[in-house]
């Protein structure tokens, strides 16, 4: 197969590369110790060609990482030019401005050699169980409190661990075995990737990935450009407020569609703050690319080609382009809002594709000890409701824009000794609309042991609800209570013996005028208890009816 690759072979090899990325990712998830990796899927795998163009990714990769990986590889290759790399080398960095925006995520890169020549790279990214410093908390003021930063470095040299670097890691983190174990899982994943890519090249009689990569990037870029071209030209703006410990922060964007390109600029966004919620530009670009992709080309596997028609800019020093030494540990609590910000901007241009704001998720970092003395260092997640879309109610209790998996109450209780008193959907919490926002939920955690447990909160939407679109109403706010008393949505609390933590997850925004909601849908909501009779009267103008 020496000629330019034909569409049949391109499709076949492209799908194979995605399957390879999937295999690597699954092996990492299954062998990881980090709860972030195994329950929140805080992990990614991306395959690059030898020029560093991303060409395939694992389907269940964290969207944030998929978007930052192309920038990370640029930084790594600038430091270690391809000509200097040898078989068996492994590169790594967790620098927030080069990696994923905060220190716990380590990006691990394996140069892929085939018959002695460099043909590409496999990058895997995992959220490590610990990276030192004060741990992941909103209260950090500077990056120096947020643990160890590994600038681009060689983790392995020609197959041998670089102990000088690994020893620095060992000396800086709390749960050494878990951290090193997870890094080894990434390293092993890269080796598996190199082997599978070699077998793939063998099978299709290819010397390298370049013909395939050209095809992948060309077709994807063409598809993205065609979609952008179908969006009416113009500049579309939006702004929203995001809660922060010292007062709300403004996020603003202007999306300019011109022909087959889009420029997304965040001028007007507020300045970085003295808490750990600042967003490095790589993360801003990542979620911008994600938002545009979901609106234009959701079915096309992600790769470098999709980024080419996009220009993403933010003024230096604003909270979406924070500079060193801003603290960034909780960058997601601001960065996730880029997605509804962009959807809101494009609502006028793409009314049938955008989604009303979602309730998003709560992440809790829990530390302490069980009654039997065993240490607890784990995470807990709860999801709010999704925003509604044209023709589609928002799904209840579903994460956005990130992803995670349910924490089973039974497993949670067995592992932590912290009891889940109940978990219930919150009626009327979904924003009213012709299509209703998804419901949030209430969960109550109760410390039945006699040992205090520390809980770090990264809550959002406790002041600014998920907004509706086109007359749809906002979803309910998120609330946190300690023994029934309201507490701030961000920060660290101690759940003492006998105390309870109540979390009310935010609902998603509605879409369209509630008065136009279909009567069968109203009746179904009432029958299911997703909306109460009072809610129906208040939000939809329905008169109470007798009996149901």
């Amino acid at each position: 197969m020496n000629r330019t690759i034909d569409p049949i072979a391109l499709g076949v090899v492209w799908d194979r590369l995605i399957a390879i990325a999937d295999s690597i990712l699954l092996s990492i998830v299954r062998s990881a110790f980090s709860v972030g990796v195994r329950e929140a899927w805080d992990v990614a795998c991306v395959v690059f060609d030898r020029e560093g163009r991303s060409i395939a990714q694992a389907g269940l990769s964290m969207p944030a990482f998929i978007g930052t990986a192309p920038y990370t590889i640029e930084h790594l290759l600038a430091r270690f030019p391809p000509a200097t790399l040898a078989e068996g080398d492994v590169l790594a960095t967790n620098d927030p401005w080069m990696g994923t925006g905060h220190t716990p995520d380590l990006c691990v890169v394996r140069p892929v050699f085939y018959r002695g020549s460099l043909v590409g790279f496999v990058m895997t990214i995992s959220h490590l169980p610990d990276i030192g410093g004060r741990g992941l908390t909103i209260d950090n003021r500077e990056i120096y409190e947020e643990g160890l930063i590994l600038p681009p470095c060689r983790l392995y040299r020609e197959g041998q661990p670089n102990d000088e670097v690994l020893d620095i890691l060992r000396a800086n983190v709390r749960v050494v075995d878990e951290v090193i174990g997870d890094i080894e899982a990434n390293v092993a994943g890269g080796a598996v990737g190199e082997q599978l890519i070699g077998e793939c090249l063998d099978e299709f009689g290819l010397e390298d990935l370049q013909a395939v990569a050209d095809g992948i990037v060309r077709q994807s870029e063409a598809a993205m450009r065609a979609e952008l071209k179908s969006v009416p030209d113009g500049t579309y703006t939006n702004r929203l407020e995001v809660e922060a410990p010292d007062g709300p922060v403004i996020l603003a964007c202007a999306v300019t569609i011109a022909g087959d390109t889009a420029t997304i600029d965040y001028t007007g966004t507020g300045a970085a703050v003295g808490k750990a919620i600042n967003v490095p530009l790589c993360y801003t670009r990542s979620f911008t690319g994600y938002a545009i992709k979901t609106l234009t080309t959701p079915a096309i596997p992600n790769n470098q080609g999709m980024l080419a028609p996009l220009r993403i800019t933010a003024p230096q020093g604003c909270i979406l382009n924070a500079s060193r030494p801003s603290a960034t540990g909780g960058r997601h609590t601001v960065g996730w809002f880029i997605v509804p910000l962009v959807y809101g901007a494009l609502a006028e241009a793409l009314p049938d594709r955008v989604q009303a704001d979602s309730g998003m998720v709560s992440l809790f970092i829990v530390a302490g000890a069980r009654a039997d003395g065993r240490e607890i260092a784990t995470q807990y997640f709860l999801a709010g409701g999704l925003g509604a879309m044209h023709g589609l109610d928002g799904h209840h209790t579903t994460p956005s824009p990130t992803n995670n998996a349910v924490v089973s109450s039974e497993v949670w209780e067995a592992e932590t000794g912290v009891r889940v008193a109940h978990r219930r959907l919150l009626p009327d919490s979904g924003g009213a609309g012709r299509w209703r926002g998804g419901l949030g939920q209430e969960a109550v955690l109760s410390n039945d042991s006699d040992i205090p447990v520390t809980v770090s909160l990264f809550g959002m939407r406790s002041e600014f609800a998920a907004r509706g679109l086109f007359g749809g109403r906002s979803g309910a706010l998120r609330e946190f209570r300690l023994d029934g008393q309201p507490i701030p949505a961000k920060g660290r609390v101690t759940l003492g013996p006998g105390q309870t933590l109540t979390v009310r997850e935010a609902g998603g925004g509605g879409y369209g005028d509630p008065r136009r909601r279909d009567s069968a849908a109203r009746a179904a909501d009432l029958a299911a208890g997703f909306v109460t009779a009072e809610g129906l009267l208040r939000d939809y103008g329905d008169k109470p009816r007798k009996g149901v």
């Binding site: 039974e410 209780e413 067995a414």
Partner: protein, 702 residues
């Protein structure tokens, strides 16, 4: 009791019901196939039996036992036609089915949809009771309050079935058991299912979801079995009836009625059983079963003569067949590979501008373009017809002529503009894209299970399997492909190999360090006791022929993923010191490198108690009328090596005799399918009647 020599396998599929009657003593096999009666599938069973008996020239009294498989339960779940069901659930947790997995299965598709729970929210009743993670009762149950709440709902809502779903019941099932007992007294007409009885697995969403499904289908399934038993009685049948599960074992009717979720779908299990039979015929320990039909392809791996199994499956996917868009079930099943590609799969140009086949299917109506029933989008069947692999005149034995011109026109319409491709080139692209999908699925599945398929044998069947098998085998470097005789009713034959078996999985988290030999032995003794009980019905308590297989799911403390370790024989005193080594070995097979120093936990305890099917089925010889004329003509068929059509000889499978050898390119036609031999592929007819093929490339390599 009869002492007849004959056993009967009957499998109900979506379209056809297959029958196989086997004479234990003489090895003779008679087969029959007829359309399924969707309204009441027992009708096709009861009307088909006399036909088959007539063909075999025997009376019903000579039938010793009937093994029965059905898609009834899966269909009821897909169509959501089940009982009005209520869910009794621990107070505070009624919404778990709605809250569900809190996970998006597609990161980019904002319109991804999720299945609604089978029990509507207003039909769930919260019950004041609580058992802690350690098994201690923290809130006692009030059975009388519960019974009156259910009685009210039964009266108001016409409830037929109850699913009892309490938190932490796998650790301590006492409250669930008390609720079941009280409801039995208060509402004797209800069918009652409890979660720790259905699957004592520790994760409430998965367990409860499975329990609700069991309850939902129970009344319907129970009536079906009753009708079937009565009908068989009317025919004069006095032998035993057994019903095959999704994991390939079979259950007596009473146990099957208690756990209908276990008989979710027998088809794929029967396919895997058939493949293990073929393995015995051809002395192959490791096999790949490859079955491609009208809408999907399915695969299974057989290691050391046993189909690989697992404990989860998803049914009734509602969004583009995507994993995650269906109902998840925790039940023993054959570890199935599912590929969204079959004969009816639609082919087109995807958003990338490349060929895409499936997962959408043209179904039976309008069907592929070549059915000429108004279908305008090309399908895999259209591609195979355009390539000359299928004969337009002999499809389904000539019962349904195909329109080749319509297939070519559809291909040109779809791909001519996009790629400036000839219909034939596009057709080959579709054929090859599907081959690759199958190869990828097998390869990933095998890799995740540490299964080395290169020395394995492939068994190919289904309407489209034989068209693709040799090309798939070449890509996988598999050296032997078997096309079994009787493949048209292979699921019915497979059922005859179904052992009586019952599997149990019990979650019970224990640190390995804290486990002593006595408690290890006690746990397994109790599990074996529970798993053997359902088999006692058929064996009157005599357990001497029972085989026991034990396994445990283990993980390194702190990891979330457990690995099954099959235990060798022996007691705890002997096994406990060996467990870390056994675990590391299994771990390394999947992940390459163990963490030898980490503490290990046991998460789930598993046993399977079984009684093997009577031997001899592997030597079956179908009674068929041999036809005259082996070579029945030739037609142009696509030869990829030449990138052109080549006049290709056609053989009639039913005329071939033992020892006949054919070298490709060639087409061997069966009633349900055509075996495509590519250039230098070869095939020989074995004494058993099976066709054994060797792919060209593999032969060249060895």
């Amino acid at each position: 009791m009869t002492k007849g020599d004959w056993r009967l396998g009957i499998d109900i599929g979506g379209t056809f019901t297959d029958f196989a009657a086997f004479d234990q003593r003489r090895g003779k096999l008679h087969i029959h196939k007829q359309l399924t009666t969707p309204g009441d599938p027992s009708e096709s069973v009861l009307s088909g039996i006399p036909v088959l008996l007539g063909e075999a020239g025997i009376g019903i009294a000579e039938i010793d036992s009937i093994v029965h498989g059905t898609t009834l339960v899966a269909n009821a779940l897909i169509e959501r036609k089940g009982a009005r069901t209520t869910m009794l659930v621990t107070a505070g947790f009624a919404d778990i089915l709605d809250i569900a997995l809190e996970r998006r299965y597609d990161m980019y598709d904002l319109r991804a949809r999720y299945p609604a729970p089978l029990v509507p929210r207003r039909l769930r009743i919260e019950v004041g009771e609580r058992i802690g993670a350690d098994g201690r009762v923290t809130v006692p149950l009030d059975p009388d309050a519960l019974a009156s709440a259910v009685a009210r709902l039964v009266a108001d809502e016409d409830i037929e079935a109850v699913a009892v779903c309490f938190l932490n019941s796998p650790v301590n099932p006492a409250h669930e058991a008390a609720a079941v007992e009280r409801l039995g007294e208060a509402c004797p007409d209800l069918t009652v299912t409890s979660s720790a009885d259905v699957i004592p697995f520790l994760r409430e969403h998965e367990r409860w979801s499975t329990t609700v499904m069991n309850a939902f289908v129970q009344p319907m399934f129970s009536r079906y079995v009753a009708r079937l038993e009565a009908g068989l009685g009317d025919l004069g049948f006095v032998g035993s009836l057994a019903i095959t599960t999704s994991s390939g074992g079979c259950l007596d009717p009473q146990t099957a009625r208690r756990y209908p979720i276990r008989v979710l779908e027998s088809g794929p299990a029967a396919g895997a059983l058939m493949a293990s039979l073929i393995g015995r015929r051809t002395e192959s320990e490791n096999l790949l079963a490859f079955d491609m039909g009208g809408t999907t392809a399915k695969g299974a791996l057989i290691r050391g003569g046993r189909p690989l199994k697992r404990y989860d499956i998803e049914v009734a996917r509602i969004h583009d067949f995507k994993p995650g868009s269906g109902l998840s079930v925790k039940t023993p099943v054959v570890d199935l590979i599912e590929i969204g590609a079959g004969g009816g799969s639609l082919a087109g140009v995807d958003a990338r501008g490349l060929i895409r086949v499936g997962p959408q299917s043209a179904g039976a109506d309008p069907g592929p373009a070549c059915y000429a029933r108004g279908g305008g989008t090309p399908t895999l069947t259209d591609a195979n017809l355009a390539l000359g692999y299928l004969d337009p005149e002999s499809f389904l034995g000539g019962g349904m002529p195909l329109d080749r011109a319509a297939a070519q026109a559809a291909l040109t319409r779809e791909f001519g503009n996009a790629f400036e491709m000839q219909a034939a080139t596009a057709a080959w692209g579709i054929h090859e894209t599907v081959n690759e999908q199958v190869v990828r699925a097998f390869r990933n599945h095998a890799a995740e299970r540490g299964f080395d398929y290169r020395g394995a044998t492939m068994v190919a069947f289904g309407g489209a399997g034989p068209l693709h098998a040799l090309r798939v085998a070449r890509k996988l470097r598999i050296g032997k492909v078997v096309f079994a005789v009787g493949a048209g009713v292979m699921s019915a034959i497979g059922l005859l190999a179904s052992p009586q078996a019952f599997e149990l999985l019990q979650s019970d988290w224990v640190d390995l360090d804290a486990l002593d030999a006595a408690s290890f032995d006690r746990r397994f003794a109790s599990l074996v006791q529970r798993a053997a009980a359902p088999l006692d019905n058929a064996h009157k308590g005599a357990r001497n022929g029972f085989a026991v297989r034990r396994a445990i799911d283990m993980r390194y403390s702190g990891q979330g993923y457990e690995i099954e370790v099959v235990l060798p024989d022996g007691g705890g005193a002997d096994l406990l010191p060996r467990l870390p080594g056994l675990f590391d070995e299994c771990y390394a097979r999947v992940f390459a490198r163990p963490f030898s120093k980490r503490p290990i936990e046991i998460v789930n305890w598993k046993v399977e108690v079984s009684v093997p099917a009577p031997p001899g089925v592997a030597d079956y010889r179908p009674v068929v009328r041999r036809r005259a004329g082996k070579r029945i003509g030739a037609r142009p068929a696509w030869l990829p090596e030449d990138e052109d059509f080549v006049e290709t000889p056609i053989y009639d499978r039913y005329a071939l005799e033992t020892g006949d050898e054919i070298t490709g390119p060639a087409l061997i036609e069966e009633r349900e399918s055509t075996i495509v031999l590519g250039r230098d592929d070869s095939a020989v007819v074995a004494a058993s009647g099976d066709l054994i093929a060797t792919p060209a490339a593999v032969e060249a390599m060895t």
